[in-house]
């Protein structure tokens, strides 16, 4: 059996297209990697074109053999962007598609256990984003948040914020991945920025409304005054609010 290295564009549809390719050609890839990674030295590389139709076929097949929940499980694991996640998911998808009473809770399979662990970490990051997103009011009447999550979780947090803030326009920007979750005129979209500004904040003082500045200073004041100095516990503090998130937390500036 051939063992080529597959390259796809990094999107979920691209990944599913790769799965389609694997089944179509009955191959056992040595790796499935996102385009932006360095190629291996000795492997033959096959580049996969992302095709929505093929991706949909794979999705439909998975749903037929399992459930929406399992498909979501695969999606959540995929968004972890962990090295080697594609092959683990390929292994998992093979189990699902083979049928034969496969249970997602099969904790005796180490790869399945591993995927559960990954999914749990992604879930935790989703919960963190529900907590750490900070919207800022801009003069363009758009509420903007910049954030830098560990995993690519923006696609998973849209509904939460849409339910909460249905009545004004907002955008959540993932600065590391240069992507954004936009809610405008009651409509939610997820996409990538064309102009790259990695590491730099897009949002500067001049964008903020006067009210925004006032409420930021009120929030900072509040954050300080509710602390009980006699109880200070920096270990616990850091455990809950790790330093890597401070950059975008108003109260930590």
């Amino acid at each position: 059996m051939e063992t080529p290295e597959l390259r796809y564009d990094g999107s979920f549809e691209g990944f599913l297209s790769s799965i389609y390719f694997v089944y179509q050609h009955k191959i056992k890839p040595s790796a499935i990697l996102s385009n932006n990674l360095q190629p291996g030295l000795f492997n033959s590389i096959t580049t996969i074109t992302t095709e929505e139709k093929k991706a949909d076929r794979v999705l439909a097949g998975l749903q037929l053999k399992s459930s929406k929940k399992v498909v979501r499980f695969i999606y959540q694991c995929f968004l972890s962007e962990q090295e080697g996640i594609e092959l683990k998911l390929l292994y998992f998808i093979r189990l699902v598609l083979a049928g034969k009473g496969f249970k997602i809770q099969d904790y005796s399979d180490p790869i399945v256990v591993d995927l559960h662990e990954i999914k749990k970490r992604v879930g935790r990051e989703v919960h963190r984003m529900h907590a750490f997103v900070r919207f800022q009011e801009t003069k363009e009447d758009l509420w903007v948040c910049e954030i830098n999550p560990d995993f690519n979780v923006l696609p998973l947090i849209g509904k939460h914020f849409k339910d909460r803030y249905p009545n004004f326009d907002w955008i959540i920007i993932d600065t590391k991945r240069q992507s954004g979750l936009m809610y405008q005129k009651q409509y939610l979209t997820f996409g990538s920025f064309v102009k790259q500004t990695t590491g730099k904040k897009r949002l500067t003082e001049k964008h903020k409304t006067p009210d925004e500045k006032i409420y930021q200073s009120l929030w900072k004041k509040y954050f300080k005054s509710v602390n009980i100095d006699e109880r200070n516990n920096s270990k616990l503090h850091l455990q809950h609010v790790p330093k890597r998130y401070w950059k975008y937390l108003i109260e930590k500036q």
């Binding site: 919960h127 907590a131 803030y165 009120l218 929030w219 005054s225 509710v226 100095d229 006699e230």
Partner: protein, 414 residues
């Protein structure tokens, strides 16, 4: 008058911070199409202060003017602090603007008592009502129920709030009398009883008709101050247990006394009893989720919780004859009694052992704390020899690592 809003916020949040309740969970309020916010039943902590406590709600007093002079309280009449008050509109603006920026899950509003209980309660209700009916705010609201306020006002508060609380503060009537001469247990227990019945009634009604109003859907809670009075842990836990049983409280919070006042009605302590507070929370969890009764955790001979180890380990050491427990055959509540096995792991064990006899490696993978649990269990491929060791050796194993500097960690349960 004349204070800027930022100064008011500093004073009135500082005065509210000794109320430790910060939960935003237990309610599942949906948003409307054009409204602001909702409540998630799991709750969200938006940030944590330097003391490691969660910030979930905008926790403020409406005013720190107070006609009472309770020794434990920073806002007591005789204390020389700057006094101020928010207007209704100021609280509403702060709440919605913090909420829009995703700083908070909602509002926790308490107050000093100005003029009378009803006068104060009416202001609190007015704010909640305005948030719900004028702003269409559907985030979390926790209101203080002021002892002595009329039942009509308490009921109305329940209509708009997700949770209500009346604080007992002192763990015995005698201690309360000593530090707060104007207050009595009766004043506190009466509104609790009324709220309990209203909440129950509303749940019954809602079963019949979805249109019936929700009253305080996240229930009610209270707080006990620890270390400012002579009660032992047995007395405190018995009080909590009674409150859970007779008033059906969702939570009793324990607040280690922070020596904020020089008032001679209170003892002089050098530091806040953080470990004791932690142990009380652990014991509280045993009461609510582990099927323990109070006299299993504390008794005549052990009136205080062991500060060196968690109460479940202490229980196990006093009752070694109950162990070892066979992981593959014991029932759920027996498994829950093993130190190092929590609710989640116990459930996983029950589920996983349907497929295979569990061995040490399975248990470790499931996530039990092997260091402690190994002394009290048997499983496939393991006979328990550790239990026969001298008790001091087992005791030592239950204590936190000696190598690491012990940190008086607060539990991370809020």
């Amino acid at each position: 008058m004349g204070l800027k809003i930022i100064e008011k916020l500093a004073i009135l949040s500082d005065a509210a911070k000794y109320d430790v309740s910060c939960s935003s969970s237990g309610s599942n309020r949906k948003n409307t199409k054009t409204g602001l916010g909702n409540s998630k039943s799991m709750g969200i902590c938006h940030t944590y202060t330097a003391d490691g406590r969660c910030v979930s709600l905008l926790k403020i007093l409406l005013t720190n003017y107070c006609i009472f002079d309770c020794a434990y309280c920073v806002s007591r009449k005789s204390n020389d602090v700057q006094r101020t008050a928010f207007t209704v509109q100021e609280v509403v603006d702060l709440t919605i603007n913090f909420y829009k920026r995703n700083y908070i899950e909602g509002l926790f509003l308490s107050s000093g008592i100005f003029k009378s209980a009803d006068y104060t309660m009416e202001r609190l209700v007015r704010i909640a009502k305005k948030l719900r009916t004028e702003v269409d705010f559907n985030g979390y609201i926790h209101l203080k129920a002021i002892p002595g306020a009329s039942e009509e006002l308490l009921y109305e508060a329940g209509l708009y709030a997700d949770r209500l609380s009346v604080n007992i503060e002192m763990p015995s009537e005698q201690s309360l009398q000593k530090v707060a001469a104007e207050k009595s247990y009766r004043d506190v227990l009466m509104p609790m009883e009324f709220l309990k019945n209203s909440i129950k009634e509303s749940k019954r009604e809602r079963k019949r008709s979805k249109k019936a109003p929700k009253i305080s859907p996240a229930g009610q809670s209270t707080q006990l101050v620890i270390g400012a009075s002579p009660e032992n842990d047995k007395e405190i836990l018995e009080l909590s247990d009674t409150l859970y049983k007779t008033k059906e409280l969702k939570r009793v919070y324990y607040s280690g006394y922070v020596p904020i006042s020089q008032d001679n009605r209170l003892p002089i302590i050098s530091e806040t009893p953080l470990i004791r507070e932690n142990r009380l929370y652990q014991a509280d969890w045993l009461l609510r989720f582990y099927g323990f009764s109070v006299n299993e955790i504390v008794d005549e001979k052990h009136q205080h919780l062991d500060l060196e180890m968690d109460p479940k380990s202490a229980f196990a050491l006093r009752n070694l004859e109950l162990f070892p427990i066979d992981i593959n055959s014991a029932d759920y509540f027996q498994i829950l009694r093993v130190p190092g096995i929590g609710v989640k792991s116990a459930k996983k064990i029950i589920y996983a052992r349907k497929f295979t006899k569990l061995r040490e490696e399975h248990l470790k993978k499931i996530g039990i704390v092997w260091k402690r649990a190994q002394y009290f269990i048997t499983c496939q491929g393991m006979t328990n020899k550790l239990l026969k060791q001298p008790i001091p050796i087992i005791t030592n194993a239950m204590k936190p690592n000696q190598g690491r500097k012990r940190n008086p960690n607060q539990l991370t349960l809020f």
